[in-house]
């Protein structure tokens, strides 16, 4: 019976061991954020890169002596090729919304608060297009960028995938908001 007790204890403690792992995996994400403000025009596809480069060195290091020379030249060539397809696909508003709703990186209050701010921003755009406000498109862009940064700062540490998706879609979403016709169809 004492054996069962020991086994039971082991099983229970083993379950706990998995908890710290996600925390340890988070720090690298922080390094990704600086890329967020920088990509203004099309570097939206960059989020795909951060995942690739770290992976490449890892493969190269443990690899056999013959392999590294082959892998090294390929790595710099691959990212530029991979960028265009990633840039074409990113915008899926429904998926992004679903991801935001589902993420555990932010709490319920924060999600509602963010939604409030998104609604406020949408109203500002509506007012702008209806001529009800003197806000310029530059000011709206600033508000939009700030809101995106708020969301990213909340999400980047605990939900790397979502943060990447937001960064990738940032310019595309702006494209929808800043075009009166596209905005009307939202």
């Amino acid at each position: 019976m004492a054996r069962y007790t020991a086994v039971l204890l082991l099983l229970l403690t083993a379950g706990c061991a998995s908890a710290p792992v996600p925390g340890a995996a988070q720090p690298p994400v922080v390094a990704t954020q600086p890329a967020t403000p920088t990509p203004a025009p099309k570097p939206a596809a960059t989020p795909a890169r951060p995942a690739t480069p770290p992976a490449a060195p890892r493969v190269a290091a443990p690899g056999a002596t013959a392999t590294p020379p082959v892998v090294a030249p390929r790595t710099p060539a691959t990212p530029p090729v991979a960028v265009p397809p990633a840039a074409a696909a990113p915008l899926d508003l429904d998926a992004l919304e679903a991801q935001l709703r589902a993420t555990k990186a932010i709490g319920v209050f924060t999600k509602i608060s963010l939604k409030n701010q998104v609604d406020d921003l949408m109203k500002q755009f509506r007012d702008h297009y209806e001529g009800k406000t003197k806000r310029t498109m530059t000011e709206l862009r600033r508000s939009y960028d700030l809101l995106i940064m708020k969301v990213l700062s909340l999400v980047q540490d605990d939900d790397h995938m979502l943060a990447s998706a937001i960064v990738s879609s940032r310019e595309a979403i702006w494209g929808l908001l800043s075009d009166q016709n596209k905005f009307a169809n939202l």
Binding site: L8, I106, G107, V108, T110, N116
Partner: protein
């Protein structure tokens, strides 16, 4: 019978040990959530150190910098952060 009892007791002890951190984690998550909300509204706080539930989606919050707030969801579906004394 004696061994069964001891196993049961041990299991209960272990389960209790695991249950306590779980509720503590929930509380930490709530504090983090409230901290984020207060920051999003641009109010000074630093970090939420205590949160007391007054009603559903309605909390009395104490911040590390001494500020006290009421954070709640109003009828219009907006999260409101009010200073309280």
């Amino acid at each position: 019978m004696n061994q069964r009892t001891s196993v049961l007791a041990l299991t209960l002890v272990v389960l209790t040990l695991f249950a306590v951190p779980s509720s503590a984690q929930d509380e930490e998550a709530l504090k983090k959530d409230l901290t984020a909300v207060i920051a999003l509204q641009g109010m000074p706080c630093g970090q939420v150190v205590a949160a007391v539930e007054q009603a559903e989606m309605d909390y009395a919050v104490s911040c590390a910098d001494g500020n006290l707030y009421r954070v709640y969801l109003n009828a219009a579906g907006r999260v409101v952060v009010e200073t309280r004394k």
